[in-house]
Symmetry: C2
């Protein structure tokens, strides 16, 4: 890739484009334009063209973008042209729902390990995975080479577990716990907190 130093805000939009393209594709649509895609995802056409042009020339004047080709390109940029192994830590309601979520497999991810701290959960099956003890977290993820984890433990233990994940070599954490995590600069964190999402909207309500 001819990438120098792409702003994070551009990277953060690419998965949205990819998701929309995937839906176009499932409907049998072969081709789209920045205009059409923009209307679909609520982003200006110029923005989309400029974002994509950071990585190459993927479109054709007069025609637009050939969807399978563009999807390949974006997948390659985002490195989801492969399957990433993911561990889930914390098998409460949220962990269970995430473990059974069917939307990972066609987007580049595979859940391969489940962990929990409570003894009565250890050994239980969720799907076809056993829940393992969090005591062995560091060594298990290290030897399995897992680089991505989803964190669905209570807020009180989230920082401790996050530090263990980092110790085990994890470089990307999707954090469902309602707390900001402190991690080294080379570790990425994305936050999922429904209350934050709701509070970002109430400001605009009457």
């Amino acid at each position: 890739m001819p990438t120098e130093n792409i702003p994070d805000i551009i990277i953060s939009r690419l998965p949205i484009y990819l998701r929309a393209l995937q839906r176009f594709s499932e409907k049998g649509i072969q081709t789209t334009s920045s205009q059409e895609l923009g209307e679909r995802v609520g982003i200006s056409a110029a923005q989309i063209r400029k974002d994509l042009s950071q990585f190459g020339e993927f479109g054709k004047q007069g025609t637009g973008y050939y969807i399978p080709f563009l999807m390949d390109k974006i997948r390659s940029i985002l490195k989801v042209d492969r399957i990433w192994d993911v561990a889930i830590v914390g098998m409460g309601d949220v962990g269970h729902a995430v473990a059974r979520y069917p939307g990972f497999s066609n987007r580049g991810f595979r859940v391969v390990m489940l962990f929990d701290a409570s003894p009565e959960k250890i050994g239980q099956k969720v799907g076809d995975l056993d829940i393992k003890s969090i005591d062995n977290l560091v060594s298990e993820i290290r030897s399995a080479g897992v680089k991505i984890a989803m964190l669905s433990v209570p807020a009180a233990s989230a920082q401790d577990v996050a530090s263990k994940l980092v110790e085990g070599g994890v470089k990307a954490i999707l954090n469902y716990a309602p707390i900001s995590l402190a991690v080294p600069a080379d570790v990425k964190v994305q936050y999922i907190d429904p209350s934050i999402g709701l509070q970002r909207m109430t400001y605009y309500l009457d």
Copy 2:
């Protein structure tokens, strides 16, 4: 509030500050500084001071911010100094996990209605709420005055349900379905898609 036209990006940070303050408060900490809060949430101190200064002068030189006071102010700005009724539509795994999530009640929200389309789920209880038929969605939410909904139906029906929510008077949607929604300009949408979160990080992995 002396608010003119505050950028959305500032609004979007306030819930993060509030969440951190809530944790300080639970630990019995009465006072903090922009410096300390910034380190906690990973945002520069200057940024925090500038954000807060948009709404008034909440701090005191030499001392910092008195946490209960600042929390009240932010809650008031975000309009979570009250309890908002929320409906959940789609009672699959995700809907169930969200319905049972304990983190809403102390952050300004109360789940009051559950809906699903499948006949065998209708009438089932989750917590102390009955699952209602989605057929009555519009009239039920309208008569209950619900303004906020969480959408956890499959992507294929998400747009249809979202339009129904809008028809019923909903002005804020927390969308768990992996699809961009088209809604009128006065309706806010926040997206929760774990695959998007993961794909925003893989770019930075080796």
